[in-house]
C-alpha cells in the first residue's frame, strides 16, 4: 500500500510537475496569442483614434476658418468632389431631432439630411449635416427647419465652396544665391483640380508677426527673392481653387517651416582679385597721367599768352600802369620802332614852309617813306652838301641863337591862324626844311624827350642851325604853331600834333606825325624846291632818330654821346 501508495505520490508529483509544466506552457502560448491580438486591437484602436482625432482636428480647423469668412448659415464646404458638409451653431443644447435639414438640386426633388450635434465650446452647440448626394455645376437650395419653423435658407453651388486641405510636404531649400529660398510643396490631393489651383506663400522673419505674402498660380514651387541674408524665415503655404471653374475658401496654412537664408559671405579670392585689379588700374592711370602730364595740363589749363616779355617791368614793377611804364622805361621801347620800320634807309625830307615874312628853315628827320620823291640822287647830293654846310654852321655863336629865339617868340606872339591856310601858305612858298638822318649818325638819343638835357640839346642845336642860315628869318613851321602851348622846342615835341598824344617817343613817330599832319604829303616834292627860288639856306638837323644805330644797340643801355 505504501509501495503503491508511495509511488503514486512520486508519480503524482512528477505528473503534477509535468501537468503544471504543460499547463504553464499552454498558458504561456495562450497568453502570447492573446497579447498579440490585444496589441493588434489596441494598435487599430489607437490608429482609429488618431485618425478620428485628426479628422476632428481638421474639421475644427475648417469650421473655424469658415466661421471667420462666411456669414450666411448654414455654412457649407466641400473637401472633395463627392462631399459637402454643412453646419451651423446655436446657443444652448437642443437635440438634433428638433432640426430638419432639406436640400434640393435644380430640377430635382427635396432630400433630407440627418443632423448631428456636437459641442462647439462654451454653451454653444454645432449642428452638422453631410449630404449624401453631391452634384456640381447646379444650384443647390438648402433649408433648415427647427420644430417645423424655417430657421435657415440658402442657395449655393457646391463647385464654388471648396475648402481644401492645406498643401503637403512643404520643403524649403537654400538657393545658391544669397537672399533666396526655394519652396516646393505637393498640391491638395484632389482630382482634376491640380492645375487650377492658386497658392499663397507667407514668409516672415522668425519671431516676427508681420510678414509678406506671395501668390503663386498653377505651380507648386516658388523662389523667394530679396530676402535678408543670414536670417531665419518662417514659411507657410495655403491653397484655393483659382476661381474659374472651381472656387472656394483659402485652406488652412501648412505647418511652419523655418529656414535660414545663406549668409552674404564674400569670397576672399574675389576680394583679393578686385583689390589687385583696382590697384593695377590706379597705377596705370597714374602712369598715364604722369607721362601725359604736360599734354593734360595744356589741355586743361591752356597757356595764356602774356605780354610780359614784350613789356618788361610793366606788370611786375608798375603793376600794369602803362602810362607810368612808358614814362619810366622808354628805353625799352627804343627797339620798338624797328619793328615797324623795315626800311632803314636814311632819307632826306625837305619841308617847304613859309612862316610869315621870314621863313625859317629847320631840318627834321624823317624816314624814307614820307619823302619818296626826295630819294633822287641829285637831291641827296645837294642835301649832303647842305649838311656839310650845316655842320659848319654849328660852330656859330650864341648871338644867332638868341635871334632865333626872338623870332620864335615873335611868331608865337602873333595870332595863329587855322592850320589849313598855313598849309597853303607853306605850299605857296619855297621854304624848305631838310631833314637828314644819316648826316649825324652818332647824334641819336635814346633818352625820352621830356628829359631836360634833351631839350637843351635840341634847343641849342636848333639855335645853331637857325643861326647858321644867312637868310633865315623865321623859324618854321607847323611845329611852332602846334607847340604854341609849350615852351619846349624839342624836335620830337615839335612834331606833336594836338591830337597825337600817343607819339611822344621814338624816332619813327615823328615821321608819322609829319605824315599825319599833312606836312610831308602836302609839301611839294623837291622839284618845286628846285624850280622855285631858294628862300634860304637849308639847314640840316642831326636828328637823333637814327634808326639803324639804335637798332644795333641793345635797349636800355646808355648811349654814349658822340660829342
Amino acid at each position: 500500500m505504501d509501495n503503491w501508495a508511495t509511488p503514486p505520490p512520486l508519480e503524482t508529483k512528477q505528473n503534477r510537475r509535468i501537468n503544471v509544466d504543460l499547463f504553464c506552457g499552454a498558458t504561456k502560448k495562450m497568453t502570447k496569442v492573446k497579447s498579440i491580438l490585444l496589441r493588434g486591437f489596441l494598435t487599430c484602436l489607437c490608429f482609429q483614434t488618431t485618425f478620428f482625432a485628426k479628422s476632428v482636428r481638421d474639421l475644427e480647423t475648417k469650421v473655424a476658418l469658415l466661421t471667420a469668412v462666411e456669414r450666411e448659415d448654414p455654412k457649407c464646404f466641400a473637401e472633395g468632389m463627392m462631399d459637402l458638409t454643412c453646419f451651423w451653431e446655436e446657443d444652448g443644447h437642443s437635440t438634433p431631432g428638433q432640426y430638419t435639414f432639406l436640400y434640393k438640386y435644380q430640377n430635382d426633388n427635396n432630400s433630407a439630411c440627418a443632423v448631428a450635434a456636437q459641442p462647439a465650446g462654451g454653451n454653444r452647440t454645432r449642428y452638422i449635416c453631410k449630404l449624401s448626394t453631391v452634384k456640381h455645376f447646379v444650384p443647390l437650395d438648402l433649408t433648415v427647419f427647427r420644430n417645423g419653423a424655417l430657421l435657415h435658407n440658402r442657395s449655393l453651388s457646391i463647385d464654388l465652396v471648396f475648402l481644401l486641405n492645406p498643401p503637403e510636404n512643404l520643403t524649403v531649400t537654400r538657393m545658391g544665391k544669397p537672399g533666396q529660398l526655394r519652396l516646393s510643396w505637393l498640391p491638395p490631393s484632389l482630382k482634376r483640380m491640380t492645375n487650377s489651383m492658386v497658392y499663397e506663400v507667407s514668409y516672415t522673419l522668425a519671431g516676427s508677426q508681420t510678414g509678406k505674402l506671395a501668390v503663386v498660380r498653377g505651380n507648386t514651387e516658388s523662389v523667394l527673392r530679396s530676402l535678408h541674408t543670414g536670417t531665419r524665415y518662417d514659411v507657410q503655404v495655403r491653397a484655393k481653387p483659382d476661381g474659374l471653374t472651381y472656387n472656394g475658401y483659402w485652406s488652412a496654412w501648412t505647418p511652419t517651416v523655418s529656414m535660414e537664408t545663406p549668409p552674404n559671405d564674400f569670397d576672399p579670392l574675389i576680394i583679393c582679385l578686385c583689390l589687385i585689379i583696382s590697384l593695377i588700374l590706379t597705377l596705370l592711370a597714374l602712369a598715364a597721367f604722369l607721362s601725359r602730364r604736360r599734354f593734360l595740363l595744356k589741355k586743361m589749363w591752356p597757356l595764356i599768352p602774356s605780354p610780359e616779355n614784350q613789356f618788361p617791368g610793366l606788370f611786375t614793377v608798375y603793376e600794369g600802369n602803362f602810362l607810368e611804364w612808358l614814362g619810366q622805361s622808354s628805353g625799352g621801347l627804343w627797339r620798338r620802332p624797328s619793328l615797324f620800320h623795315t626800311e632803314e634807309i636814311p632819307t632826306l625830307l625837305e619841308v617847304l614852309t613859309e612862316a610869315g615874312n621870314e621863313p625859317l628853315a629847320l631840318a627834321f628827320p624823317t624816314p624814307s617813306r614820307a619823302s619818296a620823291p626826295l630819294r633822287e640822287a641829285s637831291e641827296e647830293e645837294e642835301k649832303e652838301e647842305e649838311v656839310e654846310g650845316a655842320g659848319k654852321a654849328l660852330d656859330s655863336g650864341l648871338a644867332r641863337d638868341r635871334w632865333l629865339i626872338d623870332q620864335l617868340r615873335i611868331l608865337r606872339g602873333q595870332p595863329v591862324p587855322s592850320p589849313w591856310p598855313r598849309t597853303s601858305l607853306l605850299e605857296s612858298k619855297d621854304a624848305y626844311i631838310t631833314l637828314n638822318q644819316s648826316s649825324q649818325p652818332d647824334s641819336g638819343e635814346r633818352t625820352p624827350p621830356p628829359l631836360p638835357d634833351d631839350i637843351s640839346e635840341e634847343s641849342s642845336r636848333l639855335r645853331s642851325l637857325a643861326a647858321s642860315g644867312t637868310s633865315a628869318n623865321c623859324s618854321d613851321l607847323g611845329s611852332l604853331r602846334q607847340n604854341s602851348g609849350s615852351d619846349r622846342l624839342s624836335s620830337q615835341s615839335s612834331f606833336e600834333y594836338p591830337h597825337n598824344s600817343w607819339l611822344p617817343k621814338g624816332p619813327g613817330y615823328p615821321y608819322l606825325a609829319v605824315a599825319d599832319s599833312g606836312i610831308s604829303m602836302d609839301y611839294s616834292p623837291m622839284s618845286s624846291s628846285r624850280s622855285g627860288p631858294r628862300a634860304g639856306i637849308l639847314y640840316t638837323n642831326d636828328y637823333k632818330n637814327d634808326i639803324p644805330q639804335q637798332r644795333q644797340r641793345p635797349s636800355g643801355q646808355p648811349i654814349p654821346n658822340g660829342r
Binding site: M81, M82, Y105, Q106, N107, D108, T133, V134, K135, H136, F137, V138, S157, D159, R192, N195, S196, L244, T245
Partner: protein, 204 residues
Amino acid sequence: MGNRRTNGRNGEDPVSEYAGFDMEIPRLIAVLLMVLEWTRPAQPSPLRLICDPRVLDSYIKEARDTEAAMRGCREGCGLPEPITVPLTSVDFSVWEKKDVQEQAREVQAGLSLLGRAIGVARASVPNAELQRLIDNNYSNIHSIGQVLNSLNIQEYTPSAGVSGGENTWRVSTTSELFRVHTNFLRGKVRLLLSAAPACSHNPS
C-alpha cells in the same frame, strides 16, 4: 600602268577610305536629322492648342460676363417661349462611370441645344451690346464643336427635337439661359475635354 595603279591604290587607299569614312558621318547625321525632322510633325502638335485649357477658359469667361450682363437686364430680356436647355449638374459618382462616348454624346447634345437656345435669345434681345455678347457666345459654341470634332469626338445631334430628352429642361429667361450655358461649359464640356484621349498625354 596596272601595277602602278594598283600600287597607287594600295598607297592611297587608307587615305581615301579614311576620307570616305570621314564624309559618311556628316551624311549620316544629316539623314538622321531629316528623319527626326520628318517624324516630329507626326506628334499631335495641332492638338496641343486644342487641349490647352486656356482656350476653354476664355470661353468660360465670356459666358460668365454674358451671364452677369443678362442678370442686370430687366426689360426685354425675357424669352418669347420656354427654351429647352441641357442639364448641367454633374454627379461625379455617376459621371465617372460613363464611358467617353456617352459623355461626348451628352456634351454634343447639350451644345446643340444651347446653340439653338442662344440663337432664339439673340432674336429676342433688343440691346446691341447684349447682342454682341450673345454673338460671341454663339461663335464660341461652334468653336467648341470644332474642337470636339478635331479631338475625334463625333458630332451628335439629339433626334428628340425641341421637346428634349431626359437630360433637358426648360428655361424662360435669358439670364437663366446663360447661367445654364456657363455651368455647362464649366462642368460637362471641361470634364470631357480634360479627359479626352487625344489630350491624355498632356494632363490638364
